[in-house]
Subunit: 571 residues, 2 copies
């Protein structure tokens, strides 16, 4: 049985994605009141309709007053049993046609078609959806009008378990991912009900978040919620994040989360294959390691503790401890009051550190290799997820350098390029001053034009732009053996060779205006004083930035599972 | 060329593991002074010997005054070049015999044999060691007496790069892991020197830590450091942890670290294969979730933040967000002033959560299966590491139940066993009160005797012993669908089914004396109010406990890379 074809695909189906204030409660206070009023009105309407129906049935005009199917639907109890074999929607195949199966799923849509038939869309695991049909018209079936009505009235995003016969529809169902089969429901139990109105509907959750610029303005003005953008309801990033269950149920969110895990897994897989050993640096540390700026402090029994800003020192301790190559994946913390789409106060770092045998470019090339492994893994194994994200957040393919043609500029070459070919405001940039974000973006555009890549390395940063542990270039002590990696003109990795001899480290600490014996730094230098430590280097990658810039998303906050910013600590 | 066979293997070789105060500085203040005095004396002795030698050479009795090999040794510079191909000790094979190779390694031992020959032990990557020989006697070789002496005097744990010819010794070298080859050094450069005295020598670092009971007594008395136990120098746990580079260089430490990573990797591997998706819960949260006990608090811009005590709520949010099965690996924090070998203030949790289809035992069986996968993976793939650990920390093989014969007791059955067959002090234990650690251990011993397993499940904990989110057993509401997993009589996992209906959750929160609208709890319940959430359950495993109890180590602090306790925040 096929539902009459719909004219609009799911994300814009008005039944699924009601206007603001209808199926979705708006998040502004004004909107919330409106929605409440509307919901009340509708509940009243439904109550009256039910009364009329009951009267009609009592007068004998509408069918039996006794519900012959009452065992086949309703709220589940712990004695409810459905012996049919359970299947997952992704497994549905020709072999199931005509068979009775059990499916556990969310109600993505439910509506009556006349008085005797209801259609539901059932969703399972991300975006596997199938059409369900229930009809009281067929004789001999354990389906009553009351049952049909109850199913047709199920709230969106309720969780149900159904028993159904698998059938082939007369024509493919366009509105669901499973188009070649439909489920003819004979039992349906409510496992977990959804509320009357959703804080964020699946339709809005599945669309791009409202413009961040617009949102910042609103946030300043104290307004939050849905905005009507070219006639389509668009939810703000804040609305998404305040409704985590619905935000995460959107296929685009699950695709982004899947790509994020893939980046982490590909990182670990490549390093394991190259004899790197994983370890876990601590988050709680006894002293602020780099002068104390932007560090979270907390009372710790009778002392004070700090949250680690990076695993830097601990990666180096592992090398001092006899590991040749190490990596770690874990949270790092920055108490920086930066409210930009690039910043979070807690984020996952992908870090590695390794012994250098001859030249620090061994490390740089290892980092390039692991990132290229990640990019290639994504573009081959996650094509479907990438396309799904692009259908919501359009982007151009991420351009990679040709094999063996990696693009590596020195910092000085980058500044020279900016001076000669960049926008006029950068005609005086200096070789011994760090780059600003606008400079980075302008250089990214120049590199893309010149070398046809969105991924390149900026090497040999000036000493002034790097922390005290960076190794100066022995041939030119004003620059360091340190680099940043760029994606679409934005930094995603910082790294380099570290000073491994205690006297050189002490000298550089002093040159930076710090004291090698101050708390936090002393314990670090002590490790290099305590044993011989071979030359080594590494780098740290911001996981969420890699994903955000690879997919050209408007914010890292759309990538992180639970983003933390100066203004956001929940959910 | 073979060194005369040594009578003692490495860890007890007196040349390698000098008595306290010689090669190792003792950590007690008294010991430190003694060591300093001794070091001064020896430096003076060496200076005098060098003077004598110089005089002898000047008088023509000892050889040429000019050092013909001075380019072949000394401190490395950035222009030093050794073109020979580099090899790693683990790769050394017959094909290298007679070839000249480059090796980068630590000096594990160095000593003169007469005036013209020196022996070194070179160590690379964990416990790969090889014997190196350098001799000024052979004519035509670029080796001078001065060079031999310089090599023979290298400080232990310095890092060097050598050029050497690979030779087969006359008989196998017993003192090194590589016994079938030795290296005849022709060049040797110091890359990173070690200090005159080590804070912890490799010998003591490679032995078991001093008795923890003894250490606690000392700690109370304010004494720390090496203790002489049955004639062998033994370093305390504190000494180990205060000397991270040397502690970690010990083969036993590296084996424990390797086993720890293996547990994590096996956990992730099994879950990925069973369609679990990884995610990252936040560490910074906006409210103390379970009443505020034992939680770290910190200033967060204008607000207050808390460090997550578990990923519990976030795992459930993922299920609410449409994931069927999730897992995470990351730090959790407990502000508990517990100074025991089982506790840390920060530890890595291995957590999972999954939808329940029919019965919560699906989750329990999944957790059993992942742990059995880990145990089997360890016993087959990490046999060598386990034996190495056992050579230092003896233990009996970890007993597993036979396939399909997993041991599962209810809490009530466990208490009954304790009452009937346990020690007299447990003859009155109650079914509705939580177990103490001594009870757990006594029960573990009884289960081992009765069922021949060190791994079993205790199911159906009383409501009083579980948090508010635990699902009561519908057939007996005084107990929960919640369990602990035990290893060698100690808990390593807590888990169970969670309440998924908001009204049931609110009722239980009230029954526990909490307010469903208090900060931290409201945001949690709101998620279950916002959408329908299917039944689900999970569990959390303490990574360090699994490793410690599997290997029967005296403390989790020997497992964690950088343990954090109320008294320890560094390194």
């Amino acid at each position: 049985m096929a539902e009459p074809p719909k004219e609009t695909p799911i994300p814009t189906d008005p039944a699924l994605t009601p206007a603001a204030g209808e199926g979705e409660a708006s998040q502004s206070k004004k909107g919330a009141k409106k929605a409440e009023a509307k919901a009340k009105k509708e509940a009243e309407k439904a109550r009256k309709a039910a009364e009329r129906e009951a009267q009609a049935q009592a007068s004998g005009s509408g069918g039996a007053t006794e519900d012959l199917a009452k065992e086949n639907y309703g709220e589940i109890t712990h004695t409810t049993s459905i012996p049919a074999p359970q299947i997952h929607l992704r497994e549905l195949g020709e072999e199931h046609v005509g068979k009775t199966v059990k499916v556990r799923a969310w109600i993505q849509n439910a509506r009556m078609q006349g008085a005797k038939m209801a259609f539901v869309e059932l969703r399972e695991e991300g975006n596997w959806t199938v059409q369900g049909v229930v009809s009281a018209s067929a004789e001999g079936k354990p389906v009553s009008r009351q049952m049909v009505k109850w199913i047709g009235g199920l709230k969106l995003e309720s969780f149900v378990v159904v028993e159904a016969s698998v059938q082939k529809p007369l024509e493919p169902v366009k509105s669901t991912k499973v188009s070649g089969f439909e489920l003819h429901l004979v039992k349906c139990y409510l496992v977990a009900p959804a509320p009357e109105t959703l804080g964020l509907g699946l339709g809005a959750a599945s669309r791009a978040v409202g413009s961040l610029a617009e949102e910042e303005t609103k946030e300043e003005a104290g307004v939050e919620g849905l905005s009507i953008n070219e006639g389509t309801p668009v939810a703000s990033l804040a609305t998404h994040l305040n409704n985590p269950a619905m935000h995460k149920r959107a296929p685009v969110s699950q695709a982004i989360a899947d790509i994020r895990i893939a980046v982490e897994d590909l990182f670990c897989e490549y390093l394991r294959a190259h004899r790197f050993k994983k370890f876990h640096p601590p988050s709680l540390i006894g002293a602020a390691s780099e002068g104390g700026a932007n560090v979270f402090r907390l009372p710790y029994f009778e002392k004070e503790a700090f949250l680690a800003q990076s695993p830097q020192f601990y990666k180096q301790f592992e090398i001092a401890g006899g590991r040749k190559r190490v990596y770690c994946v874990g949270p790092v913390f920055r108490a920086e009051n930066s409210n930009t789409p690039r910043h979070m106060t807690e984020f996952i770092g992908l870090d590695l550190e390794m012994e250098i045998e001859e030249h620090y470019h061994e490390v740089m090339h290892m980092l390039e290799a692991v990132l290229l492994h990640i990019f290639k893994g994504l573009s081959t194994q996650y094509r479907e997820e990438i396309e799904l994200v692009r259908s919501v957040y359009p982007s151009e393919e991420f351009l990679l350098p040709k094999d063996g043609k990696e693009v590596r500029l020195t910092f000085a070459e980058g500044q020279a390029l900016l001076r000669s070919e960049g926008p006029p405001e950068f005609e005086d940039v200096k070789d011994d001053e760090d780059m600003s974000t606008p400079q980075e973006k302008a250089l990214g555009a120049l590199v893309r034009k010149k070398y046809n890549t969105d991924f390149y390395v900026l090497d040999k940063f000036p000493v002034a732009a790097r922390p005290f542990y960076a190794m100066p270039d022995p041939a030119n002590p004003e620059v360091t053996n340190a680099y940043d990696f760029m994606m679409r003109g934005q930094e995603i990795l910082s790294g380099g060779q570290r000073l491994h001899l205690p006297h050189e480290l002490e000298a550089m600490i002093r040159r930076k205006g710090l004291d090698p014996n101050q708390p936090g730094i002393k314990e670090y230098v002590d490790v290099f004083r305590s044993v011989g430590v071979p030359p080594h280097g590494g780098g740290g990658i911001g996981l969420d930035r890699v994903v955000a810039w690879y997919l050209n998303l408007p914010s890292v906050h759309l990538v992180c599972d639970y983003p933390r910013t100066p203004k956001r600590l929940s959910p």
